[in-house]
Amino acid sequence: MMRTWMKLGLKPRTYAQQKALWGFIYVLPWLLGFVFFFFIPLLSSLRYSLSSISANAQGMTIEFIGFANYLEALTVNTSFNRVLTESIVNMVVNVPIIVIFSLFLAVLLNQKFFGRAVARSIFFLPVILASGIIMTLESTSLIQAVNDQNAGSGALNALGSFELEYMMLEAGVSETVVNYLTGAVDRIYQIVSQSGVQILIFLAGIQTISPQLYEAAKMEGATGYEAFWKITFPMVSPLILVNVIYTIIDSFSRNALTDLIRETGFTQFNFGLSSAMAWIYFLAIAVILAISTYFISKRVFYYD
């Protein structure tokens, strides 16, 4: 290695310099993609959102019109405001439920019981099934809807609700939270199918907690609930932040606003308005992410 460098007339590099060079080479493919498929499009999207775009024989003309598109989206467009608030409210309601639910299930799936392997593979199935087109089509399936009405899924939900309420009350959770959760029970399928990845993350986190902590707590006479609140919960609290962020991001792919933005862009060919909508959406998400990160990270416990 050294000799080749000498032969080429280059001065031999230190290990650190070599590492830096190779680091840049390794990152280079991503960097190219980042510039061409992310950063430039992001800037052009910002430019489109501030312009009026019309297609003609020469191609496209882009004319700067300031914030007119933003004003149109917020004041003129009939459905944008409603869809935006709906998407955000849905997200804000769902995120805590999904995170709490997946933490609970992760704790459950971490315990030893008969058939654990089977249960785990069933619970991770939504990671595979509940995404993209299948979700969209499923929500329009007529047979599904009618069968849900007939086949007593009401009884099923009531059962789930009762057990959950019982569990949670026993685990020492306050009643408001329990009511909130049982309110979510009619959407149980939606919640379960969106928490696959989050369960995985929590489960992985729980398994990194050293067993000695639990042993020591048991010797001191801690009950299972105490062990959960004093050991498991603080130890996985950094992952709560990760999961909140993941859940928020995951909601991008399946909400009505995305459809509206696409439709404005590709059906009505109003690229300017569509970009403006997308930017408003992005800013709203950014604000929510910033607020939740701020509040959660103040309470997160880091074990170092």
Binding site: Q18, K19, A20, L21, W22, G23, V27, P29, W30, L31, G33, F34, F38, P41, S44, S45, L105, L108, F113, A117, S121, L125, L129, S131, G132, I133, I134, T136, L137, S141, L142, I143, Q144, N147, N150, L156, G160, E163, Y166, M167, Y189, V192, I201, L203, A204, T208, L239, V242, I249, S253, R262, G265, F266, F271, A278, W279, Y281, F282, I285, A286
Partner: protein, 315 residues
């Protein structure tokens, strides 16, 4: 005496807990499996059983008719082949480029790599909708900074080809690639530095260290990323329906299945088609689209569930 009573109370509580846990897990598993079971039951039903009040789960008349319809309308085997090729191609390329980038960010620090990693986080946070239109226009008239028009005289139209997928996955910017880079980075950060130094002292260059020592250690995270990437590409309707409008891949075929179906059944007059029957065939279509994934999952799930626990997601 008191001890014995305490013990029995304890064991009673433990029994109660296992019972409740069992109920809960069976109940929730049922909620997850319910739509799949429902689809299977619908798919094997004959048209006659649709309105029969006595048929709830197990049909009275079995038939392969729904499957035949779906195979016919979706051009199933071609579609399956195309989707498989597309997904495996993007998966391999994405995993390779993301592993390189993840290792670069984790271990081979250079000036500015911190700022670039902030860029990775940014790609995770920005909704793909925001950049969809410029990317679409860019791919429609692909110029590669003005080089291609110089050579051929006109820009290339890359839409309706696999090139958008190849290019984005080769450069680690495909669907959710930021997440994969993050997973790999976290994992490589967890491997002790001493391993790397030992390899260097024994004469391995950085490329050799990566290929011969780091990658074999990274199998859990490779499995995770590969599975995620394959599945999400398979199911993705967002980019796929934008880039590929007329190619036969699963998600575009599924999206247009209801339309094609009513055209097929009613010779274009879709107002008279029985909506129940349409829905029945559509359910069969969904079932057949996810069937390959379920089969794959059955084979890799054990490995997947084990490996995710050793992956670096947790940091």
């Amino acid at each position: 005496m008191t001890l014995a009573r305490l013990l029995s109370l304890e064991s009673w509580k433990r029994w109660l807990w296992s019972f409740v846990r069992l109920t809960l897990i069976i109940g929730l598993s049922f909620v997850i499996l319910y739509p799949i079971l429902q689809k299977i039951s619908t798919a094997i039903k004959d048209k006659k059983d649709l309105y029969s009040p006595i048929v709830v789960w197990i049909p009275e008349h079995y038939s392969w008719d729904n499957f035949m319809q779906v195979i016919n309308i979706m051009d199933y085997w071609t579609t399956l082949g195309n989707t498989f090729a597309l997904s495996s191609m993007t998966t391999v390329l994405t995993a390779a480029s993301c592993a390189l980038a993840g290792y670069g960010f984790a271990r081979l620090k250079f000036k500015g790599s911190g700022i670039l990693f902030a860029g990775v986080i940014l790609t995770i946070l920005v909704p793909p909708t925001t950049i969809l239109i410029p990317i679409y226009l860019n791919l429609k008239d692909f110029t590669l900074m003005g080089i291609i028009p110089l050579l051929t005289g006109k820009p290339l139209n890359l839409l309706n080809t696999y090139w958008p997928f190849i290019l984005t996955s080769l450069t680690a910017n495909s669907l959710k690639a930021g997440l994969y880079i993050f997973i790999f980075r976290q994992f490589f950060r967890g491997i002790p530095k001493e391993v790397e130094e030992a390899a260097y002292i024994d004469g391995a260059g950085i490329g050799t260290t990566f290929a011969r020592i780091m990658l074999p250690n990274a199998v859990p995270s490779i499995v995770t990323v590969t599975l995620f990437s394959f599945v999400w590409q398979w199911n993705d309707s967002f980019f796929t329906t934008t880039y590929l409008t007329s190619s036969k891949v699963m998600s575009t075929q599924l999206a247009s299945l209801p339309h094609n179906l009513s055209v097929q059944l009613q010779d274009g007059v879709n107002s008279k088609a029985d909506p129940f029957y349409l829905s029945m065939v559509q359910d069969t279509g969904i079932l057949m689209a996810i069937l390959p994934l379920i089969v794959i999952y059955l084979f890799v799930q054990r490995y997947f569930v084990e490996s995710i626990e050793r992956t670096g997601i947790v940091g």
